[in-house]
Amino acid sequence: MSAAPDPRTPADGTAPATAAPLLVARGVDRTFRLPRSAPFSPGPVRHAVVDVDLDVRRGESVALIGGSGSGKSTLVRALLALDAPSARGRGTVTFDGREVRDGRAARLRWFRRRTGVVLQDPYASLDPRQRVGRIVAEPLEALRLPGDHRALVADVLARVGLEPDAADRWPHQFSGGQRQRVALARAVVHGPDLLVGDEPLSALDVAVRAQVLDLLRELRRDLGLTLLTVTHDVGLVSHLADTVVVLDAGRVVERGPVGRVLRAPEHPVTRALVAAVPTLDVPPAG
C-alpha cells in the first residue's frame, strides 16, 4: 500500500535531521572463541563485530546490510543485549539516553518493554508447544504488564491480518507467511518504540514477502515505530529503509541515505552488493 508519503520520511529517503536519537551505539566489538584444535591451547578467535558506531533516530528506518559473515546478526544481538553466551566484547549502547547494561532479565525490563524483535525463520521462532495466543502474549506476561491481555492479543492479531480465532490454534496449523505475522504480532503487542528485524522477510516466498513488507510499513506508520532491519536483500532495502548502513567483516564500511547509497555506492563492498541485486532488467543475451 504505497499511499500518501509519510511526512516523517521525505521522498528522497533522508530522515528528518531534527529527530532525536533513540538508539546510540559506540565502539561495539564482539569476538567469539572457536572450538580448540588442541586440548590445551586456547582456540582461535573470530572477530565478528569490530568497533561499530551506530545511530538510529526516532521514527527512522535503518537497514543494516551485508553479505553472510559480515557480522550483522551478531551486531544486532549486541545492540539488543541478546548476545550468545560465548560472545565477548566491549562498547556502549544507549537507548533514549539510558545505558543498556547487559545483566539479569529484571534489570533489562525497561529496555525490553520498549523494543520488539522479529527473527528470520518463521518455522523456528514460535514455540511449537504453545498456542498462538500465548505466544503473542509472551511480552505482556514476561514484563508483567497490566491490562486485559486477551483483548490486547486479539487486537494485535487483527492488526496483522489474522482471524481472531487464530489465538486458539497451534503454530503448525499456519503457513510461513502467517507465522511471520504472528511473530510480528508478538513483537509489537506491548507497544514498543523500536522494532528490530533480523532478516524478517528472507525466508518467505516473494509474493508473501511483498504482503508482509506492506504490513511492516503499515505497522510503522500506525504505531509510530522506529525500525532497524538486518538484511542481505539489498533490493528490499529501497522499499523499507531511509538510511542504510553497510557492514563487511564486522566493520561499517559505508552509511547514508538509501537513495544515495544505492544510486552511487562509494565503497567497493557496497558496489558489489548493489551490483548483485537481481533486478527486473534482463541482462544482455549470452
Binding site: D205, V206, D214, D233, P278, T279, P283
Partner: protein, 259 residues
C-alpha cells in the same frame, strides 16, 4: 536436448496436483517455471525425473529428445537421471552427504553410469570444481561438506549436476537459500555453463527477479495448471494472467531497479 511435457496430470490420494501441464524446452533453451508455493512447479520437475512421491500417479507425456520417459521402468529411468538429465536442488546443506568427501560426490554420477574410472573421474571432478569457480579445486575436492560455506556447497551441487555434461539441467530453487552476492554469482554461473555446454535448462523459482537473470522464456503455474506462457521481457512488461500480474507486482515491490 529437447524436453516436451504434454498434458501432464499427477494425482495423489484422489487429488489432482498437476492438471494438464504443457512445457516445451527447445534444444539449448532456458525456460523458467514460476509460481507461488504449492503451484506444482517442484512437482513437475519430480515428474520429469520419475521421482514422484509414493502413491502418486502420472499420466500424459514426458519426452526427452523424443523418447518417452513416463512409464519407463525404474532401471531405465535411473540410467537417464544423472547422465542425460542433471538436477540441482534447493538446500545446499542437505543435498550433500555429510560423511563423503566433496570430490567423491561430484564424481559419483560418472562412476555410477560407468563413464569414467576412478582416476579419470577424479580428474573430471577437479575440472568441474574449477568450472564452478570453487577456490583451489585440487585441494577442495578432498574436503567434507561442513568445511565449505553455503555458497560453495551449492556450487558443488551444480558441479555434480553438470559433471556428466547432461543435455538437460533441472534446477529447483537453487539460489533461494543463498545470500545476495552468492546468488548473483551462482546465477551468472548457470547462464555461462548452460551456454558453454549447450545444455537446455529448466529453472524453477518463485522469484521473477531471479528468473529474469537466467531464463529467456517463462511458464507460469498456478494450482497445478499453466496459466501463462511468454518470453521474459513480455511477461515483465505486460503480464496477462492474474497470477502473473501478482508475481510481477510482488517482484517489483521487493526488488530494486537501477535507474
Amino acid at each position: 536436448m529437447t524436453l516436451d511435457v504434454t498434458d501432464l496430470v499427477v494425482e495423489l490420494d484422489g487429488r489432482r496436483l498437476l492438471d494438464g501441464v504443457d512445457l516445451h524446452v527447445p534444444d539449448g533453451g532456458r525456460v523458467g517455471l514460476v509460481g507461488a508455493s504449492g503451484s506444482g512447479k517442484s512437482l513437475t520437475v519430480l515428474a520429469v525425473l520419475g521421482l514422484l512421491p509414493e502413491g502418486a500417479v502420472a499420466r500424459g507425456s514426458v519426452r526427452l529428445d523424443g523418447r518417452e520417459l513416463l512409464g519407463l521402468p525404474e532401471r531405465e529411468l535411473a540410467r537417464v537421471r544423472g547422465r542425460l538429465v542433471g538436477t540441482v536442488f534447493q538446500d545446499p546443506r542437505s543435498a550433500l552427504d555429510p560423511v563423503q568427501r566433496v570430490g567423491r560426490q561430484i564424481a559419483e554420477p560418472l562412476r555410477l553410469h560407468r563413464l569414467a574410472g576412478r582416476a579419470e573421474a577424479r580428474r573430471r571432478a577437479v575440472e568441474a570444481a574449477r568450472e564452478v569457480d570453487l577456490p583451489d579445486p585440487g585441494t577442495l575436492v578432498d574436503a567434507y561438506p561442513h568445511q565449505l560455506s553455503g555458497g560453495q556447497r551449492q556450487r558443488v551441487g551444480i558441479a555434480t549436476a553438470l559433471v556428466t555434461r547432461p543435455g538437460l539441467v533441472l534446477a529447483d530453487e537453487p539460489t533461494t537459500a543463498l545470500d545476495v552476492t552468492t546468488q548473483a554469482s551462482v546465477l551468472a554461473l548457470f547462464r555461462r555453463l548452460v551456454t558453454d555446454h549447450g545444455s537446455s535448462l529448466v529453472f524453477v523459482t518463485h522469484d521473477l527477479a531471479v528468473l529474469a537473470q537466467v531464463a529467456t522464456d517463462v511458464v507460469v503455474l498456478a494450482h497445478g495448471r499453466v496459466v501463462e506462457r511468454a518470453t521474459v521481457p513480455d511477461l515483465l512488461r505486460s503480464p496477462a494472467s492474474a497470477e502473473a500480474r501478482e508475481l510481477v507486482a510482488a517482484a517489483r515491490a521487493t526488488t530494486w531497479s537501477a535507474p
